[in-house]
Symmetry: C2
Subunit: 421 residues, 2 copies
C-alpha cells in the first residue's frame, strides 16, 4: 500500500456512519461527463435565467453597493433580514397564506430548509412520509439523519390519500416515531402532478388525527400554465411548515429560500441554524428584496410562464407523437417535469448510457425513491431549460432508444419467453 493510499484510508476510516452510507451517484458522474454540445439535456431542473432582464438585475443589485452597502456586506441575524422576510410574507399572501414576517426564517435555498428540518426533527429510525417518487434532494437531506422513509404513490390528482390512510393505520395514532409528512403539492418533483383540493383538506385532517407535522414544499406554485390556483396546505392550516424559494421565480444563483412555520417550530429551526451557518448571505437578501420591490417582476414571471408553457406543450406533443404505446406519462399543469413510466422490464439507469450515446439525457427514476430500488422503469424529463425544437428532437432521440429496448422485449414476448404486462 502506498503512502498516499494509506493517508486516504486513515481519513476515510474516520467518516461518520451517516456519511459513510452516502454514495456518490453514478448518474451524477455520468452527467458530469455529459457536457458535449450536441447533447440535449432533459435531466436538470435549472430555470432559464436568460429570461431575466439585465436591467432588473442591475437595478436590484444596485442597493447592495450603494444605499444598503453596510448591511449587505455585514453579518445578519440567523432568521434573515426583516425587510426580505416582509417580501416573502407578501409573496405568500398572493397565494392565500397569511403569515407575518416574524414567522419566517430565511434559508440558503429551500434545500437548507430541508436539512434544517431533518436536523431539528429526526433521530435515527424516525418515520417520515413522502410522495414516492419524490424530490431527490429532500431524500438526500433527510437521509443524513437516518430516518425510516415511507413512500406513498401519487396519481394525476396528487398523493394517494387512501394509501396514506392505510400507511397511517399501520404506523398507528400518536406514534412518537412519526415526525412529519413531506409533500410537494403543486407540480410535484418529479411527478408533475398536483394535489386536488379535497385531498389537501383530508391530508390536514389526518395530520391532526395522527399527530404529524405537514411540510409543504412549494418551489413551482407560481409556474402554472393551465387551470386555476389551488390553495396551499399552509392556507388551510397555520400548523403547516411551508417552504418557499425564489429559485424558480427569480434566480437560484442567489441562495434564498424560506421556512414559514409556527413560532415554536421556528425557534427550534433557528437553534439548529445557528451552528450550521450563523446567517445566510445578507448581500443576496438585499438583492432579492430589491428585485421584488423595485423591478416589474410580475411581468418577468409572465415571461417565464409563457416560455415554460410553450416548452411543456412541445414536450407533451412530442411524447404523443414519438413515444411507444407501452409508455405512460403525466400531464403537468405547471412546474418543470414530466414523469414517464415504461414497462417494468426496462431499466432506465442502464439505458441512460445508450441515451447519452444518442445525444440525450434524462434522470432515471430510481433516484427519487429512498431505497434506489423502486422506480427503475421510470424517468423524469424536464422541459424547463431547452428550446421547443430541442425538446422535440430530444424526445425523438429518446423514443428511438426506448423503441430499441422494447423491440427486443417484444420479440421475447412473442417467443413466449416473457409474459406481457
Amino acid at each position: 500500500m502506498t503512502s498516499a493510499h494509506l493517508k486516504f484510508e486513515r481519513a476515510t476510516e474516520k467518516v461518520s456512519a451517516c456519511v459513510s452510507g452516502m454514495r456518490p451517484s453514478a448518474v451524477r458522474n455520468l452527467f458530469a461527463a455529459a457536457n458535449r454540445s450536441d447533447i440535449i439535456s432533459l435531466a436538470g431542473g435549472m430555470p432559464d435565467v436568460s429570461l431575466l432582464p439585465q436591467s432588473a438585475v442591475r437595478k436590484a443589485t444596485k442597493a447592495a453597493w450603494s444605499d444598503e452597502m453596510s448591511v449587505a456586506l455585514q453579518y445578519g441575524g440567523t432568521d434573515g433580514r426583516i425587510e426580505t422576510r416582509r417580501v416573502f410574507s407578501d409573496l405568500m399572501r398572493d397565494e392565500g397564506i397569511r403569515c407575518k414576517p416574524e414567522n419566517i426564517i430565511i434559508t440558503s435555498g429551500a434545500q437548507q430548509a430541508l436539512d434544517l428540518i431533518g436536523k431539528t426533527f429526526l433521530d435515527p429510525g424516525d418515520i417520515v412520509i413522502t410522495e414516492g417518487p419524490t424530490y431527490l434532494g429532500a431524500l438526500q437531506a433527510f437521509s443524513a439523519y437516518e430516518p425510516d422513509i415511507r413512500c406513498i404513490p401519487f396519481d394525476e390528482a396528487g398523493m394517494r390519500i387512501d394509501l396514506l390512510e392505510a400507511e397511517l393505520e399501520r404506523i398507528g395514532k400518536d406514534n412518537p416515531r412519526l415526525k412529519f409528512l413531506y409533500t410537494i403539492p403543486n407540480f410535484q418533483n418529479p411527478g408533475g402532478v398536483t394535489m386536488v383540493p379535497e385531498r389537501r383538506k383530508r391530508l390536514i385532517e389526518l395530520s391532526k388525527e395522527y399527530n404529524f407535522i405537514v411540510v409543504e414544499d412549494d418551489p413551482y406554485g407560481r409556474l402554472r400554465y393551465d387551470g386555476g390556483h389551488v390553495l396551499p396546505l399552509k392556507a388551510l392550516s397555520d400548523d403547516v411548515v411551508y417552504l418557499g424559494t425564489i429559485s424558480k421565480v427569480f434566480a437560484p444563483g442567489l441562495r434564498c429560500g424560506w421556512v414559514a412555520a409556527p413560532s415554536g417550530v421556528l425557534s427550534k429551526i433557528n437553534l439548529a441554524k445557528q451552528g450550521t451557518d450563523l446567517c445566510g448571505s445578507s448581500f443576496d437578501q438585499v438583492v432579492v428584496e430589491h428585485y421584488f420591490r423595485d423591478t416589474p417582476w410580475q411581468k418577468t414571471l409572465q415571461k417565464f410562464v409563457k416560455t415554460y408553457r410553450t416548452r411543456r406543450d412541445a414536450m407533451l406533443k412530442a411524447l404523443d407523437e414519438y413515444f411507444p404505446p407501452e409508455a405512460t406519462w403525466t400531464r403537468p399543469e405547471g412546474g418543470f417535469f414530466v414523469w414517464v413510466t415504461l414497462p417494468t422490464y426496462v431499466d432506465t439507469s442502464s439505458m441512460l448510457a445508450e441515451a447519452l450515446a444518442s445525444g440525450v439525457i434524462y434522470t432515471p427514476g430510481d433516484g427519487f425513491f429512498p431505497d434506489g430500488k423502486r422506480g427503475r422503469n421510470s424517468m423524469r424529463i424536464a422541459f424547463c431549460y431547452e428550446s421547443p425544437e430541442n425538446i422535440d428532437e430530444a424526445i425523438k432521440r429518446l423514443a428511438a432508444v426506448i423503441e430499441e429496448k422494447l423491440e427486443l422485449y417484444r420479440a421475447f414476448i412473442e417467443a413466449g419467453a416473457l409474459k406481457e404486462e
Copy 2:
C-alpha cells in the same frame, strides 16, 4: 392548557435529541436587547466593513449583472466555481500553502465548513480536541453531532502542547473514537494568542503519531499588527484540513469560506454538502472573485490592518490604565480579540447585566467552553468594531464595574471570609 399551547407542545415533543439539547443563549438574548445607542459593544466579532471603498464593491458587483450574469444567477456545482477556488488557492499561496483549486470546496462562510466537518466525521461520543476556550460557533456546529470535546488550555505561545500530549496519552494511540483536533493557530478566537512555530511542528508530529485529523481554522491570519508571519499548519503537512474565509479580509455579508483538504476528505465533505444546500451562492462567488481580481484589495487590507492596529493599541493602553491588578489579559499580535481573566470569584455572566447598565457589553467566557462551566471568570473583549475613543471609554466603564465587584470581595478577604487567590 390553551389550544395554542397544545400545538406548541405537540411540535416540540417531535424535536430531535440533538436540537432538544440546544438552549437559546441567555447572552444572545441580552445582546438582542442591547441596541441602545449609548451602549459600546466589545461583544461581537464584526469586521468594520465601512472601511471598504464603495468603488471596489461596485466594480466587483458589476460582473454579476453584466458579463457573468448567466453564471451568477444559476445553480453552481457543489464544490463551487473553479475561478473563485483559484482565487482562494492564490490567497493561500501568499501564506505559504500550496493547494490546487481542485482541492478546495467553497462553503457558506467557514461556519458551514465547521458543520460539514462535524457531519462528515462525528458520531455521538467521538472525541474532538480543541483549544479551551475556543470559538463558540465551532462548539455549536460540532455539538449537533454529540461529540466528547476535550479542551486544551493555551498560553501566550498558543495551545499548550505538553497538556495536549498528556490528553493524547489518556486517549491512547489509534483510538478509533479520536477524530480530529480543531485549532485557530493565528490570533485565536477568543484568546488572541498565536501558536509558535515549534508547537505547530510538534502538533503535526502528534497527529501522525496518534492518528487524528488536524482542522486549522484561519480567519484572521492576514490581520497581523506586529511580528512576522508564521507558517500555517497546512504548509507543514498537506494532510491538514484548512478552513479559510473572506469574512475578515473582505465582507461576511457575502457568505464565502472554503475548505482545502486532501481529495479523499474533500469527496466525503462534498457528499455531506449535497443534501445540505446543493450549492453555495453563485452570485456571491462571482462578486468575491472579481473583488480579488479587479480591485486593489491589498491596499484595502492595509487599511483594515492599520485601523485594527490602532484599535488594539487603544484597548491594551486602556486595559493597562484602568483595569485592576487582579485582572490579567492576553496581548494579541493580530485578529480581533483580547481574553481577560479575573479572579475566580467573579462571574462574568451575572456581571454582564451590570455592565449593560453602565453602557458596555462583552462576551462572558463560559460560552467558549463546551460545558459552559469553565471560563466563568473570563471574558472576550473585541477591539475590531469601535473607535479608539469608544474603546477607551468602554474599558473605563468596564473597569469601574469590575472594581465594584472586587471591592466587595476585597472586604470579604480582609475580614477573613474569603481566601486570597
